[in-house]
Structures are given as C-alpha cells and as structure tokens.
Symmetry: C2
Subunit: 350 residues, 2 copies
DNA sequence: CTGAAAGCGCTTACAG
DNA sequence: CTGAAAGCGCTTACAG
C-alpha cells in the first residue's frame, strides 16, 4: 500500500504534476473545472501530501520540540496540555522529551531536536543545568527558543514565567496581615531559581513589616525531590525546634499537604494554632481538610502563552525579521482557603 | 545561518557528495584517510543531516504518534513517561496529541499523524469513540498501530492492557477473605470498557463466594469525570442508604480518597467499620491516612511495553513481514495497606 | 577506493 | 490557463 503521489493523480487525469499541485493549493491561475476534477480524485484516492517532500522544499516542519524536566507532575502536565492544545490550533505538532533533571540528557535532546529540524523549541530547564552552551547554539542558529517556568536569566531568549518573588511576598504578607508573628518557610531544595526567589520574597516580606528574619525558621530539603514525606519531616522538626511558630509559607502544595497531615496527626490545629500557605494550587489542595490556602500557578496558561510567543517568533523568523526577546510574567493569585485563619481585623474591614 | 549540507563539505574537500555521504555513514568502501578527513570537517562545521531529505529517501521518520485522552492524569502521565523513555532509547521521537475524550478530535488527530507519516501510532481511546473506521484505515494502510489501556476489542491490532476483570476480582476476593459480607462498589461512569470489566470482576467474586449481588450497593457516577467529589458524594449516599456495608471496592484511587475523606469526617472508622480497596495505586494513596489498599496499575510499564510492541511491528513492517496482532496483558498487584482490616484468620496463617 | 547520476515527492519561477 | 524544468538534500545502485 504505497501512498498516492501527485504524479499518479496527474497521470490519471492526463495533466501535469504542476497543475495538480497548484489545483490542490487553490492557486488562482488554475481553472475551476480542473480544480474540481483534481480535488475530487485526490479525495477518492485519499491523497495526503508527503510531508517529507513538502518540508524539504519549504524548510518548515510545522513541528516544535518540548523539553520538560518531568512529565509526571501536576504543574508540568498542565503546561504540556496548554502547549499541545495551542499548537494544534495553529497546525503545529509537538515532540515531547523529558530531561529527567539531567543536563547531559537535556543537551542530547536539544541536539536531537535540532537534527529533527523542528521549527522552534520550548524548554523548562533541568535542575542540573548550569551551563547553557547548548541553548546559545540554538539561538545562534537562528532557531526560535522560548523558556518557561525554570529559566536561566543569562540566556538571551524569550521567557514565560511567574514572579516567584512577588508571589512569595504576597503569601507571606497575607500571613502577616492575619496576625502571624513567627512565620516559618519550607523552601525545598537550595538550587533552582524558583526556590531562591520564593525564599527571597518570604524574607523581604518579613523585613518590610519589621519582623526579624530567623534562619532557624527556614527548612531546607536535603532529600532532593520535594514531596509529601518532606512536608511531614519538616513539620515534625519544626514542632521539635519551635513552639511559637504561628504561620508557615510552604514552597509547594504537595509538601504543604504532607505538613498538614503531620499536624493533623499530632493534634496541632490548622489554622487555629498555625496558618499555612502553599504554592501551586494543586487540585488536591481544594479538597483535603482543611483546604489549603495557596498561590495559584497557572500551568495551562503558561503552556499556552509559551507556545503563542514561540509561534510569533517562528513567523518572524520566516520573514527574516529579527526577534526581540520578551519576558512575559503571568499573574499569580492568592487563593484563600481554610488553612489560614481569618484576619483579626475582619470587623474593621466590613 | 543556513545549515551545512553534504555538498558544502564535498566542495571544501574537493571530493564528491557521494563519498562524503558514505564516509559519514562508515561505508566499508571508503578509505580511512577520507573518512577521518570528512568526519573532522563535519564536526567542526557542526553538520547535521537534513532529516527531511533523509526521510524522503528512506521513507522513515523515526517518529511515532501518541494519542491520549487526557495528559493531566497520574496514570496517563506515567504512560507517557514510559513511552517517551523507551522511544528515546531506540532513537524515536514521540509526537503527543490529546483527544480530550472526543471521537471527532481523535479522528482528526489520526489524520494528522498519517499525513505526518509517523512510523507508527500508539493510542488509548477516547470515551466517545464507538466507531473505529479511522483506526481500521490506519491498519489498512499498513501502518503499525498499538492500542493500550482503553482499547476496542474489535479493532484488529496489538493491545497492551491489564486484566481489569481479574484485578477487580482479586480486590473483591480480598475483601471477602478478610471477612466482609456486604461489599459495595463505586463503579464510576457506565461507559468505558474498564469500568464495565471492573464491575463484572466485582460481581463474579461475589457470586463465586456465594454472596448475593445487590444492585443497590453499586454506585454509578452520573457526573462524568471521576473525582474526589464523586467519592465524597457516593460515601454520603452509601451511609444514608445502608448501615450494614463493611467493605467497598472503588474504581479509582482518587474517588476512594474522596470517600475516605468523607468517612473520616463522619467518624466512620476505616478499616474497623468499613474496609476499602481502591484501584490504580496513585502515589497519594500510600501517603494519606489511613493508607489505601489498592490495585497497582503499572502505567510506566504499560507505556514502555506499548512502545516495544510498536517498535517490533515497525521493524517487521520495514522488512515487509506481516504483523500478527498480539494482546499483552500486564500483571496487576494487590497492594495491602491500612484501609483494609487484617484477615480474621491471621493467627491460623502464621 | 571514488564519483556521476537517478530519484525520493514536492514547490515554484518562468515560458508559452 | 497549463506545463517543462530546476531544485530542496540526501541515498544508493552502478560504473570505473
């Protein structure tokens, strides 16, 4: 079962390949009669243009590459969905690759995608990536590249991010507004920029409000991957170390849920004893008890936006226009739920 | 910045394109000296073969298509990971598409992938798919096709599945073994084959053990998508309708966790009052309290296996060997945790 | 050991 | 309105 070619259609109709090609693409200089004839036969033969040949001629693949640290992750899964949905709208296909947080793999994958001659690349960096030659090469080759979520500031390309520092500031400020005086922070691993920025936002909120910054209230995760267990462990440690903490800002919802679980087990009342704010707005957070106050991190929108930006750059590149890198910062929202006590100023606010 | 071509290398070295091509591919009839020379220049120029041209000649794209109902789902995300990892090992890229449970979309996507001339297609059916012309066409065109998880028995292609009926039987049998007499079932939606098979396994276990099958103990979800809320609602209804249920087999972990939550809130003791078995072994299930007894559904392995089978068929197809469809059933395991009480026969079992 | 030539299936500038 | 021809960048059977 070999696929039908233009040549076969041309022979059957006793016309030239050129005319068949033009007819199928609705060139204005082909007669209506011929067009109708060609289209009909193409349809009955179930003709599909050979993409390889088309790509070879047009130098376009209508395909983009996506490199993501982990696929099995609620936030990233949403990003993927956003990218794929938007790409499909514009007639683009998405090749997906998982870097597994490894720089070496990421590098190989960039290479693969360049060989594949995708029209553009979307990437969220592996934690292990500290060198960026592979990305700079993509840019030097003139291939559109957009980073999202886990980015490197020094790489000169467009980026779609949230303002982690500001979001963390908002979260911490909210804890302060409802009356918390001793606020701890579970910051996750030391490395990725997001962790750093969230920590800095937390710290700044304290300072701006005249609260002392106490390093012993910041819990780092040595374990590597942020998880439910980490939340439990940190909660346990916190209860051993301190008896005056009345608020916690936690890096990720899953860790926050682990902490909640531990507090529940130990009979610590949330939010009466301790108020908790998480980060990401995972669907489970609205469903556990108490429901978790958190920062909504718009994964689907981020994916959609990243593709849109890439699409613009692909268009521009095609027209030989130069690309001015753009940094798009998406809004985050504080979602107030049961894990934070009501403001002590409620009455005044009415 | 136009990519380097064989021609440019040939010109620089004053040899023919043919020799360059052969040298790069280590043909035995090229001198060592020439090979070394060509390879070095190719490396310094950062030569990458033009995939479009290669594909056009070889009729292979080294790319497969993947159509999945939902990306943001713990089980499917694991499947995707398994597919992508295995494909990468074999030098294949994966184009991912989400059907959103829509037959119309799925059909379009099959068409897209056929036009893209992927070497094979992996699919898990949309719930909305009841006609299969689009899949039969793929098979008729001689394109390798493998279905996984959500399959249609009548489509004549390879399939990777679990034995839902058997797994459900095992789950229910376990509840019976630990002494449950009135076992309910949350079956989720009516339609997909998996739901039906799990229900049938439940029913058969009851019958085989001489327990009466009581339709009022089977809770159907009208809501469409299985969720935490569904679990809560069904748990509530169950408590209103019956006061003698001592075990529940639940279609999906997320629903089971919703039910657990409701039971916890209402002071129903799990497993003392009611034993619960879920399905899928979502990571949260080992982490909530009580931890959930469940059937482990091997997502990653399913993805890996599905790709392996597809790969075999792609190889066979290339050699013009005919493909004999194969049904691969993966083992499921009952994971015993806290949500089911210990067997009353424990002492005897020592 | 090397290379000229055909051809994969399409698109498009150009001629008529 | 139609078509001959060149060419995208590669692979490979064949000749020398």
């Amino acid at each position: 079962m070999k696929p039908i070619t233009l040549k076969q259609i041309a022979e059957q109709l006793n016309i030239s390949v050129t005319t068949v090609s033009k007819a199928l693409k609705d060139y204005p200089d082909v007669s209506k009669k011929t067009k109708a004839m060609v289209k009909e036969l193409a349809k009955t033969l179930n003709y599909r243009p050979n993409t390889f040949a088309v790509n070879l001629r047009t130098k376009e693949s209508k395909t983009i590459g996506l490199i993501i640290p982990v696929i099995v992750h609620h936030f990233f899964a949403n990003v993927i969905k956003g990218i794929v949905a938007q790409a499909e709208k514009k007639g683009y296909l998405v090749i997906i690759l998982q870097s597994n947080e490894s720089y070496e793999l990421e590098k190989k994958q960039i290479d693969l995608l360049m060989s594949q001659r995708v029209d553009g690349i979307l990437i969220s960096l592996a934690n292990g990536s500290a060198r960026f030659d592979h990305l700079n090469e993509v840019i030097n080759q003139g291939k559109p590249l957009v980073m999202f979520d886990k980015i490197a500031k020094i790489v000169n390309c467009s980026k779609v991010i949230i303002d982690d520092r500001k979001a963390a500031y908002t979260a911490t400020q909210y804890l302060i507004d409802i009356g918390c005086k001793r606020i701890a922070h579970f910051r996750g691993p030391l490395l990725p920029q997001n962790s750093i920025d969230r920590f800095l936002g937390y710290k700044k909120a304290l300072t701006d409000n005249g609260l002392p910054y106490d390093p012993s209230l910041v819990y780092i995760c040595e374990c590597g991957d942020m998880s439910f267990e980490e939340g439990k462990m940190n909660a346990k440690k916190l209860l051993e170390d301190h008896d005056d903490v009345d608020g916690i800002f936690i890096n990720t919802d899953l860790v926050a849920i682990g902490a909640l679980n531990e507090f529940n087990n130990q009979g610590i009342k949330i939010p009466e004893d301790i108020s908790i704010v998480g980060f990401s707005n995972w669907f489970m957070s609205s469903v556990i008890s108490p429901t978790l106050t958190t920062i909504d991190q718009p994964g689907y929108l981020m994916g959609k936006t990243a593709f849109k930006q890439l699409f613009k750059e692909i268009k521009a590149h095609k027209k030989n226009k130069s690309i001015i890198p753009k940094i798009i910062t998406l809004e985050t929202v504080l979602v107030k739920r049961e894990s934070t006590k009501k403001s002590t100023n409620t009455i005044l606010e009415i």
